[in-house]
């Protein structure tokens, strides 16, 4: 009697167990695959991010140096052209060395080509109106720079708007 019961139990329980195990196996496999996928994506993105990070660090460093170049350029242009000392020439060489170093780093100056304001490259801080111009134009106030075609500092510009007739 007892033996029969036991054998019955043995037959019933495993079937449930197998189902339970199968279910748990599926859950675990799913969890594992998700984690593996997450990790794989993470790994891929890390590779990309480390590459980008190198750029970010360079951009931050260069960004920090730009105001110093601005100051050198301001100093240079504040020395009168006709001054007979060699200071202007010397400072000009300092400035040139600095600019060459930037260009060696792949930094390019943003050029103002067609007098059109483009918020991707320019930051407007002054707006003026004038009758004496043919059409709207922009004037560079502080140089902007690109590194690998990415803006590291937009050019600060003044916008001069033409006053139209009758306005």
């Amino acid at each position: 009697m007892e033996e029969e019961l036991l054998s019955e139990e043995k037959e019933n329980l495993p079937a449930e167990d197998i189902e339970l195990v199968r279910q748990q196996y599926k859950e675990l496999e799913d969890k594992f695959l998700r984690l593996a996928a997450d990790f794989d994506n993470y790994r891929k993105r890390m590779v990309r991010e480390i590459e980008e990070l190198k750029d970010v660090i360079r951009v931050e460093l260069i960004k920090g140096l730009l105001p110093i170049l601005d100051d050198i350029e301001r100093a240079f242009s504040s020395i009168p052209e006709n001054s007979d000392s060699n200071i202007k020439e010397g400072l000009g060489m300092v400035m040139k060395n600095f600019q060459n170093w930037l260009s060696d780093q792949g930094v390019k100056t943003i050029e103002i080509n067609n007098n059109l304001f483009d918020p991707r490259y320019h930051e407007a801080i002054i707006i003026e109106e004038s009758k004496d111009i043919e059409e709207d134009r922009i004037e560079e106030l502080r140089k902007g720079y690109l590194l690998n075609d990415r803006v590291i500092r937009p050019t600060m510009v003044k916008i001069i708007k033409k006053i139209k007739e009758g306005e």
Binding site: D30, K31, R34, L35, D38, F39, N41, Y42, E52, V56, D71, R74, A75, S78, F117, P119, R120, H122, E123, A124, I125, I126, I127, L141, R142, R150, V151, P154, M156, I159
Partner: protein, 606 residues
Amino acid sequence: MPKVIGIDLGTTNSVVAFVEGGKPTVIPNAEGSRLTPSAVAFTQDGQILVGQLAKRQAILNPDRTILSIKRHMGTNYKVRIDNKEYTPQEISAMILRKLKEDAEAYLGEKIEKAVITVPAYFNDAQRQATKEAGIIAGLDVMRIINEPTASALAYGLDKEGSQTILVYDLGGGTFDVSILEIGEGVFEVKATSGDTHLGGDDYDQRIMDYLIEEFKKKEGIDLSQDRMALQRLKEAAEKAKIELSTLMSTEINLPFITATQHGPKHLSVTLTRAQFEAMTRDLTERTREPIYRALSDAKLDPSKIDKILLVGGSTRMPAVQRLVKEIFGKEPRKDINPDECVALGAAIQAAVLAGEIRDIVLLDVTPLSLGIETLGGIFTKIIERNTTIPVSKSEIFTTAVDNQTSVEIHVLQGERPMAADNLSLGRFILDGIPPAPRGVPKIQVTFDIDANGIVHVSAKDLATNREQRITVKGGTGLSKEEIERMIREAQAHAEEDKRRKEEAEARNQLDGLIYTAEKLAKDAVGKVNQDLIDNLNKTIEEVRSADKSGIDKIKELINKLNDAIYKVSTELYAKAGAQQSSTSNPSGNQQQNPGGGTIDTDYKVQ
């Protein structure tokens, strides 16, 4: 399963984050910045610009640039551009769409669902409008949650039982205080207060005003009329403010700020933190009253607040932190980046709602470092604290004396550099090591922590493959309080421990040097002047019996012994060199200095 994101749609700036492997992370925008200005612009040629680009052209296009649209959410306010009207939710949707698209580009997959945060004081209409903005942006808004709730989630406070918290959120242009009660994972807002026009920008303005005033006093020139100079002042003011959060004083140098007929003029001002705090005291003080108002509305006194969270970039200022500490008499929490806290919490909420958090395998970490005791009673860590488990790490060690046939492995847990100050988990002996000079045997010690936190430590002699192991059950089964206490103690004793460790290391170095000296004294017999050898032996004896208390004395003995060794070895090599003039690099019995910082630290002698 598509990724879900959390968005902090702020008045001045917005941030987007997502959860990956159980951890929330901020997603940078297309311009590479983690903060996106909440600005929208309609250009004359029909383009819509969002974020930094919108701000850059704001002056050119003031009527068509919309800033701080959040202030109008849930009202009938309309933005009118080219005879078309836009609701605040349509404008907000443009910001949300940029955040969504930038996140998609970053993650490389489509995003459909998001959680968006709103201030705790937002009413139903404002919440509804925020939700609509999400829908217009093409997002399935799973939930709108309160910003302070998101912050609490970012700090994981929902898992810490019932408590009352206060969130102090001082952003770029708004200040919010919220009191929340957390219990059973439910957040209840008890009170909110704040100042809708107070933030970091006001602090920058104070510095600018000060610089303009100083320049006027010195040079008689008003810079406030010069747009270009103002721009430089603004940048310098913000930089100075940030610097004064970590430095006591900062220099502001703006050469060639302007020019007169007499030549260029420069601005040079040194600003101390004390000066900065004095000129902005009233701003910081303005946050006091809303705190008391919120406490009074919640019918609580400051002592009833269990935790204070600092959110918003401006809470980095020491004066702000001091004010909070003064009111509540305890340190506020500020370890999560205050600019990103809200978005991180929103991302956690999004992941929970999407079932992602449940699905991920929760990985545990070892709360304390594990390692063994090495020569001189030094605790050598093998697995550093906060290492994710399961993990396995091994290191090779060696013997401390000649012909040592057994080593004792003393397993320890803790953060202090000296073994005796840490918790002993057990010890065992590996014997049967074939006799060899010190430093020759290679004994590999492996620590393995399984997923249940059970630590297995084994030691294996790589020459004989003899192995011994120990299993520490519940080795990391310390209570949270005990762990915190141990970490605190390690910090409190850091200085003194460092000295003791240095002393123990110097002692080891001296022991190694005595060993080298003895060997040299034997080897040199008959090869160099016996007087030198006698002198070396005498020095060894002196050093052995000398008083070795204190690192300075030990270092003195090391120098003394080195001198004696040097005298013998110089002559030894000089002679060897003369004999074998063909080898330029004499390879005598030169010993490596055993104390020379090699990683193979030695075992205690049995």
